[in-house]
Symmetry: C2
Subunit: 296 residues, 2 copies
DNA sequence: TTGTAGGCGTTATCAG
DNA sequence: CTGATAACGCCTACAA
C-alpha cells in the first residue's frame, strides 16, 4: 500500500476475522511474587506468537472472578488462561461459569484442574514435591513436622495431600499437624508463636510457599531456635524470598518458565485446531539450602 | 433487548465508536517485585473505571520497547501507561518513538519525565527521599556512605542526585562513593566484597532498591560486620524483601498505590477532555527499621 | 415513538 | 488474476 506509515484498523480487522489475536489472562493478584513471574512468562511467550495479553487481576472473590471472565469473553478474546489455582471453587456449582466459558473459547488452567470441563490443565506435581520434601525432612531427623498452608486451593490441597501421604508412610498421625496460616511474614511468625503457646510442639515446618516459610524463619530467629539443628524449614516456589531470607530457605522450584512456555505452546496448537492432551503434569525440583540439615 | 444472555460484539462496537476502552500498559519486567505491584494497582484502578488493560513486558532493549509500543498503537488502545523509569533513553533521538506516540494517544509516564513531549508524568520525589535518607544516616554517624544503583534510568539518576546533594551538604567528596551494582542478591553481596577488596572503605550503604539492599545485608552478615553498629543499610520501595530480610531493612516507601490511583484518575480526566497538569510529584515516606541506628 | 438506512475499514468472495 | 462488492455487527441519524 501507501508507504506512508499505514496501519490497518484493528477493529475493522477484528470484525472481519473475528479475532484480535488477544489472550485473556486471569489471575487473583499480579503483585503476588509467584503469579507475577507467571504473568511475565505468559506475556512473553504469547508475544513471541504475536498474541497480545489482556490482564485481569480478579482478587479472591468469586463474584469478581465471574465479572472479569465475562468482561474478557465480551471482548472476544481468543482464549483464556487462568493463572493460579484459586479459580477452582470448592462447591461444584460455583464453577458453572468456567464450564460456560469453555464452551466459547479454549480455557487453560495453570496449576488447576476442572475435571470433565474440557478445560486444558498444566500442573506441577506439587503433591509429589511436598511428599518428597517431607520424606527428606523426616529422614533428616524431624519427628514433629507441621505443614502451613495459605488456602485450600487446588494446589494447596495437593500439597497438603503430599504432606499427609508422607506422614502416613512414616506412621505419624496427621491430626493437628497442618494449619491454615494467615498471609504475611510477621503474621506467620506470630501464628507459629501462638501455636507453640497452645502447646503444639514441632521441630520442622513445611510451608506451601516461600512467604510462609520466611515467616517461619522469623519465628525461629525470634524464639532462639537454631536453624536447622532445632528447627527445619522448607518453602515452595523458589522465589526471591527464599534467597533473601537468612538463612536461605530450602524450597521447591516449580519451574514457572516451563509451566508458561508449555501452556502457551499447547494453546497455540489448540488455536491451530490440533489435538492436544487435556492434562499435562510435570515435576518440581527440590532446592536444598540452609534451613534444612545437609544430607549425609 | 432479548433477556437471553446477549453480549454486543466488541469489534463492531469498537469499529463504530473507535474505542475498545482498553489501556496499554508497558513495563520492562512485570516479574520485578516493584513493577508487579504497579501493574496490580493500575489494572485494578482501570477496571474500576471499566477499562481493560493490555499488558506488555518489553524487557530492557530499546528495539523491543518500540515494537511493543507500535503493537499497542496498532490495536488502538485509548491511552498508554509506561510503568517504570526505563522508558526514557539517554540519547534524545532514541525517544523519538515516544514523541510519536504522544501525538496519537495520551501517554502517562510513571516515575519518568520526557520534557516537552506532551506526555503526562506522575513521579515520586526520589531525589528528596534519598537525600533525606542520606542525611539521616550521616546524622547517625555514617562517615563513609556509598550508594549502589542498578541503572541510570530517570529515577536512578534522581536518587543518585539526592545522594550527592546530601554528600555535598556534609562536605563529603562524592568521588568513588557511588557504584553501578549488578542485579541480584548474591551478586550485590559479591560486588561489595570486591569493593572492599579493592580498598574502598564504607560504613553505610544506600541502595536504589530493596533487592540491592538485601544483597548488602548478605554481605555484612558474611563479613561479620554488625548491623547497624558497624554498617548501616537502606533500601528503596518498601517491598516484601525489606521485611523478609533479617535484620529488616530501613527503606523508603514510594507509595505504589498512590502513584497508580493518581495516574489512573488523571488519565480518566484526560480521556474526558479535561485539562490536567502535565507533571505530578509526590513524596515518599521513610520507613525506619533495623538496618539503621535508631534516632536519639 | 419506532423503524430503517448508511457508515465504520477490513477481508473474502465472486464474477469478469 | 484483478477489481468490484457483500458481509462483519453495532451505532447513529434521519425519516415516517
Amino acid at each position: 500500500m501507501e508507504k506512508s506509515g499505514y496501519t490497518p484498523n484493528a477493529f475493522a480487522r477484528g470484525l472481519g476475522l473475528n479475532t484480535m489475536r488477544t489472550i485473556g489472562i486471569l489471575c487473583a493478584d499480579s503483585s503476588d511474587i509467584y503469579l507475577a513471574r507467571v504473568i511475565y512468562w505468559l506475556e512473553r511467550e504469547l508475544w513471541k506468537n504475536s498474541y497480545a495479553s489482556m490482564l485481569c487481576c480478579t482478587g479472591y472473590d468469586l463474584e469478581e472472578k465471574e465479572k472479569y471472565l465475562h468482561l474478557l469473553l465480551s471482548r472476544s478474546v481468543d482464549a483464556l488462561i487462568l493463572a493460579g489455582s484459586q479459580f477452582i471453587e470448592e462447591k461444584e456449582e460455583d464453577n458453572a461459569y468456567l464450564y460456560e466459558a469453555v464452551k466459547k473459547v479454549p480455557v487453560f488452567l495453570l496449576n488447576g484442574v476442572l475435571p470433565g470441563s474440557g478445560a486444558y490443565s498444566v500442573v506441577c506435581d506439587d503433591e509429589l514435591a511436598v511428599k518428597e520434601m517431607t520424606d527428606e525432612l523426616i529422614g533428616l531427623g524431624a519427628q514433629h513436622p507441621v505443614f502451613l498452608y495459605r488456602s485450600l486451593s487446588y494446589s494447596g490441597k495437593r500439597k497438603l495431600a503430599g504432606f499427609c501421604r508422607s506422614l502416613a508412610e512414616h506412621s505419624i498421625p496427621e491430626e493437628g499437624r497442618f494449619f491454615l496460616s494467615p498471609a504475611g511474614i510477621p503474621e506467620t511468625a506470630q501464628f507459629l508463636r501462638d501455636l507453640e503457646a497452645r502447646g503444639v510442639s514441632f521441630d520442622a515446618c513445611l510451608a506451601s510457599d516461600d512467604e510462609l516459610a520466611a515467616g517461619a524463619v522469623k519465628y525461629a530467629l525470634g524464639a532462639g531456635k537454631r536453624i536447622p539443628e532445632d528447627f527445619q524449614i522448607s518453602g515452595y516456589n523458589n522465589s526471591l524470598l527464599s534467597i533473601c531470607s537468612t538463612p536461605e530457605i530450602t524450597t521447591a522450584d516449580n519451574r514457572v518458565e516451563f509451566l508458561c512456555t508449555t501452556a502457551v505452546s499447547l494453546l497455540m496448537q489448540v488455536l491451530d485446531g490440533k489435538d492436544v492432551p487435556e492434562r499435562t503434569m510435570y515435576s518440581a525440583n527440590l532446592i536444598r539450602r540452609a534451613t534444612t540439615k545437609s544430607r549425609p
